[in-house]
C-alpha cells in the first residue's frame, strides 16, 4: 500500500471472553473507494466495521493492532469524525421517540435549521413532508433512507454500511441501493458489509472476504446474474385454493386470492412486506381463520381450522415457518421434534421411529447424531433443515414454506433451496415458497406476485422476473408490478405506510393492569 488510505486497519486482533474474534485483520479503503466485505455469520465482518468506527461492543476487547481513519488512530475509544454509519435494521436504529425533523435537526452533533433538514432529506431522496413523522410511521425503505440521512449529517467521506438492505423488501431495497449508488458516484467512500457477493458486486470496487476473523480473499467483484429457468411441466394439481379473504380484526389483508400448485411444482409467492404473503401461508395451513376460503388438497376440501382437519389431511399439508429460532422448541432435542409427528401422524414409535428419523435427517443433509442435539447446538441453517425434516416426517403432498431462507446466509440458503428442489423432483412434492426475495423466487417454477392482497401476476419465472435489473438486483418489471399506481418507481415518497412490526415491540413492557395492548 503506497498511497495513504482513508482507512488503514493493521493486524487487528480483538477478543471476546477469551475467544479471538478478529485475528490479525488488515484492511484498506482509499478515498472514494467502495469496498465490500462478505463472509458467513460470525466471521467477524461486523466487528471489523465497528472497529473502523472506534466502537467495540460489550465484552469485546482490543488485543493488538491499529485502526487509522484519515491518518488518526481510532482505537481505543476515539471515534473518527467524518465517518457515517448505517446498520441493517432501520426500525431499531431510529430513535422511536422523536420525529424525523427533531432527529435530523440535531443529527451529528450539529444543529441545523428547517432548510438544512429538508436538504438532508433531499440528499436521500425523501420529500420534506416526511419530517413531521415518527419512524414507525415510515416504510422500511424510508426508515433506512432517514437513517442514511443521519449518517450523512456530518458530511462524511466514508460510510460504513452493515448489511443496509437485508431487512428490506424488494421495493425498499431498490430505493436504498439507488441512493447509495448516487453517493458512491459523488465520491463518498463506502465500506459495505454484505450479505452475499452477488448483491454487492454491482456496488463495490473491491470485495474482501473474511472467515474466522481473517481476511481470506480480496479482489474485484464478479458481476452477478441469476439464471432464470423454466421447466413448466403441467402436472396434476395437488393444492388448489380459491377466493381466500382474510385479515386481522377489521383490517383485510387478502382480497380473494387464488393459488394452485401441481405435484412436483415449486410456486413462489413474492411480494413486499405487508402484502399478506404470510397470512396467505397461514390460512393454507389452517393456522389463521379466514373470512372466506376454499382449500383442497388432492381434491379433498380442508377445514379452515387445522384442529378440525382429519389426520391424513393434516399430514398432507405441512407448514414450515419463517424463523429457525422459533421453529424448534429450545428445550427439546431434535429427536423429539421428529418423533412426535411420526407418532401422531404415521403411528411410528420406538425403533421404527428412530430409523425413520435418521432417514429424514439424511434426506435434509444432516447426520444421524443430530437427533440428540438441542436447537441451541445447531446453526440457523441446520435448524431450518430440522424444521423441514419435521414437516417431511408427515409425508406431505404439499409443503408451505414461509420465508424459510430469509434468516440464512447465502450458502445455507442455496443449500436449503436445492434441497427443496430435489424433494419436488424426487417425491412429486408440491411446494409453496413464500418470499420477499427475488433471488429465492427465481429458483421456483412459477411465481405468483402478491400486492395489496391481490394477485397481480402469476406465471413462469422468466415472464415475471425478466427485464432490466435496477440497483440491488431488482427487476424493473417487478417494480412496476408491485407499484402499479406509480409509473416511475423512482418517484419519492411512498404513500402507503406499512406499520412497522418492530415499532410495536419497542413499546414499554412494564407489567400492569394497563400494559399497552399488544393485540
Amino acid at each position: 500500500m503506497t498511497a495513504p488510505g482513508l482507512v488503514e486497519v493493521r493486524d487487528l486482533v480483538l477478543c471476546a471472553g477469551g475467544r479471538t474474534v478478529l485475528d490479525g485483520v488488515r484492511l484498506d479503503v482509499a478515498a472514494g473507494e467502495a469496498v465490500g466485505i462478505v463472509g458467513a455469520s460470525g466471521s467477524g465482518k461486523t466487528t471489523t466495521a465497528l472497529a473502523v468506527l472506534g466502537h467495540l461492543r460489550d465484552g469485546i476487547t482490543h488485543v493488538a493492532g491499529t485502526v487509522h481513519v484519515a491518518g488518526a488512530p481510532v482505537l481505543p475509544g476515539r471515534p473518527p469524525r467524518g465517518v457515517g454509519y448505517l446498520g441493517q435494521d432501520p426500525g431499531a436504529s431510529l430513535n422511536p421517540y422523536r420525529t424525523v425533523r427533531a432527529v435530523l435537526t440535531a443529527a451529528g452533533g450539529v444543529r441545523r435549521d428547517r432548510a438544512g433538514v429538508d436538504a438532508l432529506l433531499g440528499r436521500v431522496g425523501l420529500p420534506a413532508g416526511l419530517a413531521r413523522r415518527y419512524p414507525h410511521q415510515l416504510s422500511g425503505g424510508q426508515q433506512q433512507r432517514v437513517a442514511l440521512a443521519i449518517a450523512l449529517a456530518r458530511d462524511p467521506g466514508l460510510l460504513v454500511l452493515d448489511e443496509p438492505t437485508t431487512g428490506l423488501d424488494v421495493l425498499a431495497r431498490a430505493d436504498v441501493h439507488r441512493e447509495l449508488a448516487s453517493l458512491r458516484a459523488a465520491g463518498v467512500a463506502l465500506l459495505w458489509i454484505g450479505h452475499d457477493a452477488e448483491t454487492l458486486a454491482a456496488n463495490v470496487d473491491r470485495l474482501v472476504t473474511v472467515a474466522d476473523g481473517r481476511v481470506v480473499a480480496s479482489g474485484p467483484p464478479e458481476p452477478a446474474r441469476f439464471t432464470l429457468t423454466s421447466e413448466a411441466a403441467p402436472a396434476e394439481v395437488v393444492l388448489a385454493a380459491s377466493g381466500i379473504v382474510g385479515g386481522y380484526g377489521a383490517t383485510r389483508v387478502l382480497h380473494g386470492v387464488d393459488l394452485h400448485v401441481g405435484a412436483g411444482e415449486r410456486v413462489a409467492v413474492l411480494g413486499a412486506s405487508g402484502t399478506g404473503k404470510t397470512t396467505l401461508a397461514r390460512v393454507l395451513a389452517g393456522l389463521h381463520p379466514a373470512a372466506a376460503d376454499t382449500v383442497t388438497v388432492d381434491g379433498a376440501t380442508l377445514h379452515p381450522d387445522v384442529r378440525r382437519r382429519t389426520r391424513p389431511q393434516r399430514a398432507a399439508l405441512q407448514y414450515v415457518a419463517q424463523s429457525p429460532s422459533e421453529a424448534l422448541h429450545p428445550r427439546q432435542p431434535v429427536r423429539t421434534a421428529l418423533h412426535r409427528p411420526l407418532r401422531l401422524l404415521r403411528n411410528l414409535r420406538g425403533a421404527a421411529a428412530d430409523a425413520e428419523a435418521a432417514a429424514l435427517l439424511e434426506v435434509v443433509g444432516l447426520s444421524a447424531d443430530t437427533a440428540g442435539l438441542l436447537p441451541a447446538e445447531l446453526s440457523g441453517g441446520q435448524r431450518q433443515r430440522v424444521s423441514l425434516a419435521r414437516a417431511l416426517a408427515a409425508r406431505p403432498r404439499v409443503l408451505v414454506c414461509d420465508e424459510v431462507t430469509s434468516a440464512l446466509d447465502p450458502g445455507t440458503r442455496d443449500a436449503v433451496l436445492g434441497l427443496l428442489g430435489r424433494l419436488c423432483a424426487q417425491d412429486g412434492l408440491g411446494v409453496v415458497l413464500v418470499t420477499h426475495d427475488v433471488e429465492v423466487a427465481a429458483t421456483a417454477d412459477r411465481v405468483v406476485v402478491l400486492a395489496e392482497g391481490h394477485v397481480v401476476a402469476d406465471g413462469p419465472v422468466p415472464d415475471v422476473l425478466g427485464g432490466d435489473l435496477l440497483p440491488g438486483g431488482v427487476p424493473s418489471h417487478l417494480v412496476e408490478l408491485l407499484r402499479p399506481d406509480v409509473a416511475d418507481p423512482t418517484v419519492r415518497g411512498t404513500v402507503n405506510v406499512v406499520p412497522s412490526r418492530r415499532a410495536a415491540v419497542t413499546a414499554p413492557t412494564v407489567v400492569s393492569d394497563d400494559s399497552p395492548p399488544t393485540g
Binding site: 380484526g249 422448541h329 393485540g519
Partner: protein, 269 residues
Amino acid sequence: MRWPGTRVASGVLAVLLVVIVVGPLVAPYDPAAPVGLPYEPPTPQALLGTDALGRDLLSRILDGGLPMLGTALAGAVAGSALGTVAGLLAAWWDGRSGRSRWVEGAVLRPLDTLAIVPPMLLVLLILTAFTGHAGLVLAVALTGVPLSARVLRAAAAPVVTRAHVEAAVARGEGPAWIVGRELLPLVAGPLVADLGIRFVAAIYVVTAAGFLGVGPSGTDWGTLIVEALPGVELAPLLLAVPVVLVALLAVSVTVLADDAVRRSRAVLA
C-alpha cells in the same frame, strides 16, 4: 451482563436453606420453653441471649425458619399457580384466536378487583377471616394472583404463537403435551422469577401482619421481628438477627429471580 451477585446469592440462599431445614433439629432448647429471664444478654448457654419471655433466641431462630419458609412458599406457590393457570388461559385463547379477548374479560378482569384493593387492606380482611398460617397463605396467594396472571400472560403471549407450538397444534397434540411440554418449559423462567417475587412479598406480608397485630403467633422469623420491637433497646440482637436473616433471604431470592428472567430471555432469543 454477568452479575457476580448471582453466585453470591445462590451461596447465601443455600446456606440459609440448610439453616432453615436443619435448624429445628439442632436447636439447643425447646423454642417455646423459657430457659432464663427475659432479655438476657448472650451467654455460653444462650448464644444469642433470651427473648421477651426468657426463651432462647438461637433456638427460636433455628426453629422459626421452616414455618416462615413454609408459609411464604405455600402462599407464593398457590398465588403463582393460580396466576399461571389464569395467565396461560388468557394467553392461549386470546393470543391464538386473534379476534375476541373474552378470556381476558372473564378471567383477568375479575382478578383486577383484587388488584385494586390495597394489599394491606386485603391482608387485614383475610387475616380477620382466617387466622393462623392458613390465613397468611391465603392472603399471600390472593394478593399475588392478579400480578402473577399478568406476568404469565405477558410471558406466554409470545410463546403461544411460536412456530413449534403451532406445529404441535397442527399435528394434533393434546392439551397435556401442549401445556406441559410446549408452553410451560418456555415460561418457566418468568414463572420462577414471579415465584421469587411472590415469595419475597410473602415474607413482607408475614412480618407486616405481625406488626399490625393480626398475624399468628409462633416462632417464624416475621413474628420474631415484631416481638422484638418493644424490647429493641434492651436486646438489639432480638431484632437484628431475624431482620438480617429475612433481608438476606429476600435479597438472595430477588437476585436469583432477576437472573431467572435474564436467562429465560436468553433461551427464547
